[in-house]
């Protein structure tokens, strides 16, 4: 035999498997050629110091896999067949992939603007700090439900909208907390937050349809809608929220994505007047409104306005929210409340994507909400964030005085500030102090004409001491560069 077979006696791989792997590899690499006769079982067994049964087993495996033939009277030989090389495709070869023939969607995906959001500072902004997740409580709930293996819901409830008890609990919660007008039938549970928008786009849009978004507004939303093939039109958004008059000038708009309870980065809350106008517009045109109710939990100056959905009588609003800000990274479920007319279409679309959601997570979250932990966690986080925010504002005022503008809205996990400086924005965010503060420029939030000198500080991520020190340091690094 023209190969040198060696056994590794310390390997976890059994000897017979080692022998057959080596012979197979040799055949594939052409070291053993077609019709070449393998050593007799006894000879090979002696040479390798294994039993004959071991060698027999290897040969037998390879015969049944088609690599070897057993020829009576001649022994065991390599089968007559061309075996391609088993060498894995090399990366060089892989990057020769101009002619991939991707779908238009696939092409948009790889042409997408710049790196994934997660590679920029934006991923940090809006993320809850890990240290504040109620880990032990969550662990207890998970363990409790894991040990209830007799629970029939565990295996039998196959509702693609999620477990009924969870939908009921969530329904009660959003009615209570956000005045959302819904029944459990309108509530849809998703295994990931991203899937909601993905599904809605497929269901509601054709390629090239106009979708209005806030400007400034969440950059990832613009990117996602564009990838789905939408014609994304940014609409001016000021301190009263989205400018509905400008929206009305669009020729035909099928869908609008708004964050009425808290615009990122300006912090604006949509005014009651604009809410009314937006709903009237939707009722007239038949457009749908996606209300992203993010950050509604985190207002630091009194009760938030009820959701936009609460005012909707025509079934135009799709309300989305999630428990991400409370339970990430242990739980990533997303929720959507759909108007009656969309229940059936969404059910069908969702059945294509996910039919079953993690049962234990859903049961644990049901308890978490029903036992009041959910709202307790929000209150706890809110008071922590409120004091972190106050520290931030105080420190900024102390260090920068009149040379800084702080967005007035007291909500969310980030704070938006403007300073006037001769230093370019991209240099400012590279300052050691900016990096300690996780501060980023607000530029990505703008579809066009970003505001120079505007920055976002994710204060919720930072301990109060870090904030105070960071801001002091920032002023020391910035002030010499002529803050006017």
């Amino acid at each position: 035999m023209s190969i040198d077979l060696q056994l590794d006696h310390n390997s976890a791989v059994l000897p017979h498997r080692q022998i057959s792997d080596a012979i197979r590899q040799a055949i594939i690499e052409g070291k053993l050629s077609a019709s070449e006769v393998l050593p007799p079982v006894r000879t090979l067994a002696q040479r390798l110091g294994v039993s004959r049964a071991t060698v027999l087993r290897s040969y037998g495996d390879l015969v049944s896999q088609g690599y070897l033939d057993a020829a009576p009277g001649r022994g065991t030989l390599v089968a007559v067949r061309s075996f391609g090389p088993i060498l894995p495709a090399s990366p060089e070869q892989a990057h020769n992939c101009q002619d991939l023939m991707l779908s238009p969607y696939g092409q948009r995906l790889i042409q997408g603007e710049g790196p994934l959001e997660s590679e920029s500072g934006l991923a940090v902004v809006g993320r809850p700090p890990i240290g504040l997740v109620p880990i032990n409580l969550w662990k207890d709930l998970i363990c409790k439900h894991l040990s209830h293996r007799s629970d029939r819901r565990f295996a039998t409830d196959r509702d693609e909208f999620g477990l009924k008890p969870l939908r009921e609990a969530y329904c009660a919660y959003v009615r209570r907390a956000r005045a959302v007008n819904c029944a459990a039938e309108n509530v849809v549970v998703f295994s990931s937050r991203e899937l909601r928008l993905n599904l809605l786009c497929r269901l509601l849009l054709e390629e090239g349809d106009i979708v209005a978004v806030e400007n400034p507004g969440l950059p990832r939303i613009r990117q996602r809608l564009w990838t789905e093939g939408a014609n994304v039109v940014p609409v001016r958004t000021d301190f009263q929220g989205l400018d509905v008059d400008q929206l009305k000038t669009l020729p035909s708009c099928k869908l609008v994505y708004v964050t009425p309870s808290h615009n990122e980065p300006t912090g604006a809350v949509m005014s009651p007047n604009r809410r009314r106008k937006l709903l009237d517009w939707a009722a007239d045109t038949g457009a749908f409104i996606i209300e992203d109710d993010c950050d509604s939990e985190f207002r630091y100056d009194g009760r938030p306005l009820p959701s936009l959905q609460a005012l909707d009588t025509k079934g135009s609003v799709i309300h989305i929210s999630d428990c991400w800000k409370i339970l990430a990274p242990v739980l990533k479920l997303g929720f959507m409340v759909v108007p009656d007319c969309l229940i059936e279409p969404v059910r069908r679309a969702k059945a294509q994507l996910e039919q079953e959601l993690p049962a234990i997570d859903q049961l644990a979250l049901t308890d978490f909400i029903n036992n009041g932990h959910y709202e307790k966690s929000i209150r706890r986080l809110r008071s922590i964030y409120a004091s972190r925010r106050k520290t931030t504002v105080d420190a900024l005022k102390r260090s920068f005085g009149n040379s800084i503008l702080i967005a007035p809205e007291s909500a969310g996990l980030n704070i938006t500030v403007r300073f006037r400086s001769t230093m370019p924005d991209r240099e400012i965010v590279q300052l050691p102090a900016s990096r300690n503060l996780l501060m980023i420029a607000s530029q990505p939030y703008y579809a066009a004409n970003p505001v120079r000198g505007e920055f976002v500080i994710p204060f919720a991520q930072l301990e109060e001491q870090e904030i105070a020190e960071g801001i002091k340091m920032l002023s020391a690094e910035l002030l010499p560069s002529a803050l006017e």
Binding site: G84, A89, M101, L102, P329
Partner: protein, 355 residues
């Protein structure tokens, strides 16, 4: 799991949202496991963890298929995948399956010229419902053809874990030298419903596109489960558990086969018994498939018609009987009751006027 939870607190910002393909140590554990068990050739970089099985097919199909594009599909074959591809506007081309799996020769002969095929969906380890394994010869032919014609192959390695006597062939992915195979696997047969993740090994050339596609479907997944699963694999529990359940399943399978031949005798032809958690049978009865299913349900026997697996005409009288939850002591009773119910139904039919 306690360790994972305390790790979590130390996780800091260590990338729980930075990579849409999932928690890195889990991907490394999977790369090693899939190499050990299935000869899959890859680094963790190309292993993607998905929250559910369906999202994997969706991610691939949307990236590659235009409405009307063709995808070769086993006939009979996995109905869920067929429904998903059809809903995305793909044109399904049925390719017959025989005892050596998809008839690749036929695929090459018939479809090569007339129609551009973008994708082939194939289940080489254990074809559902026939139980066939794609022969080595066909594996190579399929790979060569795919490389020459720039077609991607989705290898759904569903149900590769349990084999009874049959020999295990290396995965298509492990034999692929053309960067053509998108390999799918999951632990559904083993850890459902505790673990619902689905895994994908992406060819080099699709890495960027699938990564973006994943990002738009689910940017990140719960991290504790991923940590636990990584340890479960690395500490050898997975393979131990597969071995253990394989021996339990082998007993159940034997009990079912014995009961079938004892109580249904020449009513039943058994085939496709080499792998997985069900056997395929043909039942000779005077009833339609629905009635047979009803009798089985009453007798507590988990039997399903293979009708949904056919896009063309189904042969009828063909059923899958699962032995996953069969108990040795009750299965004989179930099969006997089932036989009696079938007899009874046949009598009712015959006694009806005009029958």
């Amino acid at each position: 799991m306690a360790r994972q939870w305390s790790d979590l607190e130390k996780l800091e910002l260590a990338g729980y949202t930075t990579d849409p393909f999932g928690y890195r140590p889990l991907r490394e554990a999977l790369a090693r496991y899939l190499n050990r068990a299935r000869n899959v050739q890859c680094t963790a970089q190309r292993v993607a963890v998905f929250g559910t099985k369906r999202l994997r097919l969706d991610a691939i199909a949307r990236v590659l298929l235009n409405p009307g594009d063709a995808i070769a599909f086993e006939e009979p074959g996995y109905p869920e995948a067929a429904a998903l591809f059809s809903a995305l506007g793909a044109n399904l081309l049925p390719v017959r399956v025989d005892k050596d799996g998809m008839v690749v020769e036929r695929l090459i002969q018939e479809f090569d010229k007339d129609q551009a095929i973008k994708l082939v969906y194939v289940t080489p380890s254990h074809q559902d419902p026939t139980g066939a394994t794609l022969s080595l010869d066909r594996r190579y032919r399929l790979l060569d053809w795919a490389r020459e014609n720039r077609v991607f192959i989705i290898e759904d390695d569903y149900d590769h874990e349990y084999l009874y006597g049959a020999k295990r062939l290396p995965s298509l992915q492990g034999l692929d030298a053309g960067d053509r195979v998108i390999y799918l696997s999951s632990l559904w047969k083993i850890l459902f419903p505790a673990v619902k993740f689905g895994f994908m090994v992406v060819p080099h050339c699709l890495e960027a596109a699938i990564q973006q596609s994943k990002y738009h479907l689910e940017r990140s997944m719960p991290v504790a489960e991923q940590m636990a699963l990584a340890d479960f694999i690395d500490e050898g529990h997975l393979e131990r558990y597969i071995r253990k359940s394989q021996s339990i399943l082998a007993v159940r399978r034997r009990a079912l086969l014995y009961a079938l031949s004892k109580h249904l005798r020449d009513r039943v032809i058994i085939y496709g018994t080499g792998a997985g958690t069900h056997i395929l049978v043909r039942l000779k009865t005077g009833l339609d498939d629905r009635q047979v299913e009803e009798c089985a349900e009453q007798a507590n026997l988990s039997l399903l018609s293979t009708r949904p697996f056919y896009r063309g005409r189904s042969p009828g009288d063909e059923f899958m009987i699962s032995f996953a939850n069969v108990f040795e002591d009750t299965v004989t009773n179930s099969v006997e009751t089932f036989g009696a119910l079938v007899n009874q139904q046949e009598m009712v039919l015959h006694s009806e006027p005009g029958a």
